[in-house]
Amino acid sequence: MPRSASWSLTAVWVIALASAAVALVPASVDAASPAAVPLPATHRDAVPAATSAVNFELDVMPILTVAGCNSGPCHGKSRGQNGFQLSLLGFDADFDFNAIVKQARGRRVQPSAPEQSLLLLKAAGIVPHGGGVKLPAESENYATLKRWIASGMPRSQATDPKLVGIEVAPRDRILPAKSREQLKVTAKYSDGSKRDVTLLTAYQSNESAVAAIDAAGLVTAGALPGETAIMARYMNHIAVFNVAVPLAGKVDKDIYASLPRRNFIDELVWKRLERLGIVPSEVCDDATFLRRAHLDVIGTLPTADEARKFLADTSPDKRAKLVDALLARPEYADHWANKWADLLRPNPYRVGIKATVVYDQWIRDAFRTNKPYDRFVADLVASRGSTFRNGATVLYRDRRSPEEVTTMVCQLFLGVRLDCARCHHHPFEVWGQDDFFGTAAYFSRVGYKGTGISAPISGSEEFIYTRTEGTVKHPLTGENVPPKPLFGSAPVKDDEDPRAAFTRWMTSPENSYFAQVAVNRIWTEIMGRGIVEPVDDIRATNPPSNPELINALAREFRAQKFDIKQLLRTILTSHVYELSALPNPRNNWDTKNYSRHYRQRLRAETLLDAVCEVTGVPESFAAMPPNSRAVELWTHRVQNLFLDSFGRPDPNQDPPCERLAESTLVQSLHLMNAPSLHDKVTSDKGLAARLLKQDAAPDEWIEEMYLSVYCRYPTTAERNAAAALVPADRTKQRQFAEDLLWALLNTPEFMFKN
């Protein structure tokens, strides 16, 4: 869009406001605006009304925002930059006005000689400016600022129209590779007027390689296929443009029509793939399915005998039967509780050992009894009683202020990250401090009795109860904030714990976030990638890769009364779940539409347990009974080099729940050379020793090892290649068997779910 067009549109805006122009003239002397500076009368009076129709809130702040002046790395950071600080992304107009007009002895603005204002000298780079030239002296935005200063720095009046929202057009597009699309952003005001703010809008592409956008709102599709969202931000308002760049070439429609549809998951995934011209991978073989399902449901590898039995079974519904059988296994509870423990687990040095153990057991119990998810959350969030008897209360022992609880509960159970909104308006979202403290107010009456935190032991019992009163204060106004949820309403009845009202609101059908973030977490564990990614970051500017799918899963979860096992059954019996990990030429670029199974490295505990099971030599853990499995540990503080190397959460980090899914050099070295692993492989009680003792032929024990580690038979080529290397001398065969076991354990085929 040419620059001149914007100028003419600005002119239109001035005309549209002509009726309000009278009110604009006395500007900043409004007594209701405490930060406003009364200016010498001469300045105000000298300015003709027509040119002063530029005010701080509606005209100046958008310029400061789009030029990045108030961004986090510049003057928006908490220490400001070179003594000049603005509120982050302009969330506090009073503060910014004060900083520009009043501070630095007023030398940032000079109405008598506007071009000598430090604000303009710096921004235009006329005097040295660390941030570079932001507003060239010949630019439209420079002229607007100059006009504003010349007119005596007026502020917006109560009677002026307010910005109520923005719209981006178009909202979504499928763009051919390397093609372009111009976006248009329109601001809407309380008086019904509109204004083209395309050039005053900040844009950000979530993936620039797929589609990039320039400052003027021109989108350019990349050379490679993919999908992304582009965020347009004008002041505190956000609009999103979704773009997909499909793979060139036509795909026969019959391909999609002929794909199996076992349930709604298949239907919705195929629909998406068809739109993008992606062809799904083949179905995986039985051995891959067997291993995948075991790892997903119970976090345990099948034994060689279980593998033989499943592979020999010829019944057509054997995969569905396997899923049912796995869901009934006792290992299910520990495996899934372990995932939740990552999110909830406190530091025992902080809350005490007994409280940590009781909490851990509470979580495991919930999964043992398949407690409905809404009950699980309600029991946790509204918990009361002793930290030694009701493990759920340890949440409150750990998070001791309404603010801390708010951040945690909203992120875990709603997928809403409110942390930013505690101090400033969330830069990518609609949430502000009012939302944060309105939510925190629901937790303002949590009471504590007994002995609090006395790190590093904290060994005492504490009681969590509901007090009769309690408030939170807004940090800017200092006033008490009444309970108010993020959206909708959640009134607190008389004599009711406000937390009960909050959980009722959270779990009600009107709250779409609750079920969405839950199904997204579970789906991510199975499928290797969230429909929303990161899993707990649901917002308009981070759209799901398949909105219909996440909605349908959430609906299903609610319809099944939040039965987690039933949800798992639905996912695991879909055709989509059975797809091979191997890409084809029409889906190899797809990393978020589930056209193939995405490989995942086994998590630390699962991998260590698998090593122990395969080798037949258990690990010994401190503070645990003998023969315990890693998945049963009640704290990450139980020392174990293997688990540390493979990225279990580090309780010293903030936030502590980050679990490392990546591979590292340390991991490769550990599998290769760790003495503890070497001992397991070469143990007299280990797999190699056991197999060789049975006087089996090399062919048999080679097969047994493949079945134990890879859960599949060796191919003929593999069988022959290994057999050819077996030493003829029987006394040397055991060492060879150990080396073969080491080799199998050191491959990605063992370390990954394929």
Binding site: F428, W589, D650, L740, A743, L744, E749
Partner: protein
């Protein structure tokens, strides 16, 4: 008191430890010999004329060493502040150290002492974080806290700088310091911890050396076997994002590390002459200093030498009388050796803890012998090498050592100095996985006297 403990009685978790187990024994003797021969035939990279990239050795005295008993003696202060020790003259006229810093006093022409760094974090958790990352903790933390809100110097250095021969870029010896983690940079940039004692004849680095009893022939056999059984298909197209690719990269780096003569030689303190080994001190810390020098020679950009036990709430005088000379003579030997080898121009050695100690000597209840408590209003930091002007003192505390009063400097100034020496811009902005922009150091002003 256990030297690895501080006043909260807590030890750090053995995060990502790799150290331990003897070096001599198994090893890759044959293989290494072959590689050594090959290496001799190739031109010596050390003789290249290009300037060696900068390395940093940070001697971390955990607990917070007293400034009075090290580099800021106060002979004119009242007895309850002065303490038991006298100042001694150094090689540099007018520069005085505490009497237990004899060896360092002897090379003061190579040293710069900054006496005026201070901050406001008087507990171990927060103080460690501030001085190990250049950033204060985002929320108040307790004394016993092991926290990380910002990447440590070492992790940033490993992230910014390439290291040759498969060696990790960040070593922490013999353990990770409290806030020495990578935070949002990811575990790839966590310190490589060598926890075993190089003063032992059996020293070797666990996981980098073969496990006890495994011969190199057998290891090579295993390696061939692994290749044979590794049949999982890889995705040819990079766009498919195969996570197995990273494993292949690291497996190869692991093999390189295990079989690289240069990498293995970096750990081989046993190959040093008896004279050199004696010079560094025949104790764990001394030999760790020697190991640090060898790692610098191998091109490792960041080494933390961690030494615990400087939280002297009690027994401060016996502690300094007995332990300080051993420590400081090893550090002096390290600095002199680096200078002799022409490495000091490109190696910055710093020595510090999380804060200084209270001026007034006190005896805590239940303790027989007096000590000093936490004091963040003043601390002394030792610098050497990398263009730091020798024989200089920057800043000063008041006459009783209460507060930094001249050239008052912040941990941010300290951090920016270190990053500038490494060629890393402290004003750089990182983006966390949540998309939050974070300045590497919030105030990118280095200590200008050190930057000449």
């Amino acid at each position: 008191m256990n030297p690895m403990r501080n006043c909260e009685g807590m030890t750090r978790r053995n995060c990502l430890q790799l150290g331990l187990a003897g070096f001599a024994g198994g090893g890759l003797t044959n293989l290494l010999r072959l590689r050594a021969q090959a290496a001799e035939k190739s031109p010596n990279p050390a003789k290249s004329t290009a300037r060696k990239p900068t390395s940093v050795i940070m001697v971390w005295l955990d607990g917070g060493p007293s400034h009075f008993e090290t580099f800021d003696p106060k002979p004119d202060a009242p007895i309850e502040i002065r303490g038991e020790f006298d100042p001694i003259a150094t090689r540099t006229p007018g520069m005085f150290f505490s009497e237990n810093m004899k060896a360092l006093a002897g090379i003061s022409d190579k040293l710069c002492v900054v006496r005026s760094i201070c901050h406001n974090q008087g507990n171990h958790g927060a103080g460690n974080h501030y001085m190990m990352t250049g950033s204060p903790t985002r929320i108040p933390v307790g004394c016993g806290a092991f926290v990380s809100f910002h990447p440590s110097f070492g992790s940033v250095t490993a992230y910014e700088r390439k290291t040759p021969r498969g060696l990790p870029g960040y070593f922490s010896i013999p353990s990770m310091s409290r806030s020495g983690g990578p935070n949002f940079l990811g575990a790839k940039y966590a310190p490589f911890v060598v926890s075993d004692d190089p003063s032992q004849a059996t020293f070797r680095v666990r996981d980098v050396n073969l496990p006890e009893g495994l011969t190199d022939d057998r290891f090579m056999g295993r390696r061939d076997l692994r290749k044979l059984v590794d049949q999982l298909p890889r995705f040819a197209d990079a766009a498919a994002g195969d996570p197995v690719g990273a494993v292949d990269t690291y497996t190869q780096q692991g093999y390189d590390l295990v079989t690289s003569i240069q990498a293995q030689q970096a750990f081989n303190v046993g190959s040093e002459s008896e004279k050199v080994r004696d010079g560094y001190g025949r104790n764990a810390f001394g030999q760790r200093c020697l190991l640090a020098r060898r790692l610098v020679e191998a091109g490792v950009p960041w080494i933390t030498l961690y030494d615990g036990g400087w939280d002297s709430h009690s027994d401060i005088f016996p502690k300094f009388r007995n332990d300080a000379p051993k420590l400081e003579s090893s550090v002096a030997a390290l600095i002199s050796d680096l200078a002799d080898r022409g490495l000091l121009d490109t190696t910055l050695v710093v020595m510090l803890g999380e804060f200084g100690r209270t001026p007034k000597i006190s005896t805590l209840s239940g303790k027989g012998s007096p000590g000093r408590d936490h004091w963040a209003n003043a601390m002394s930091v030792l610098f050497a090498g990398c263009g730091v002007p020798g024989g200089t003192v920057i800043g000063a505390t008041d006459r009783n050592g209460y507060a930094a009063v001249e050239r008052v400097l912040s941990p941010e100034n300290f951090a920016s100095t270190i990053y500038r020496k490494l060629g890393i811009d402290p004003d750089k902005i990182y983006y966390t996985p949540q998309g939050r922009p974070t300045h590497l150091v919030s105030d990118p002003t280095p200590i200008k006297e050190l930057m000449a």
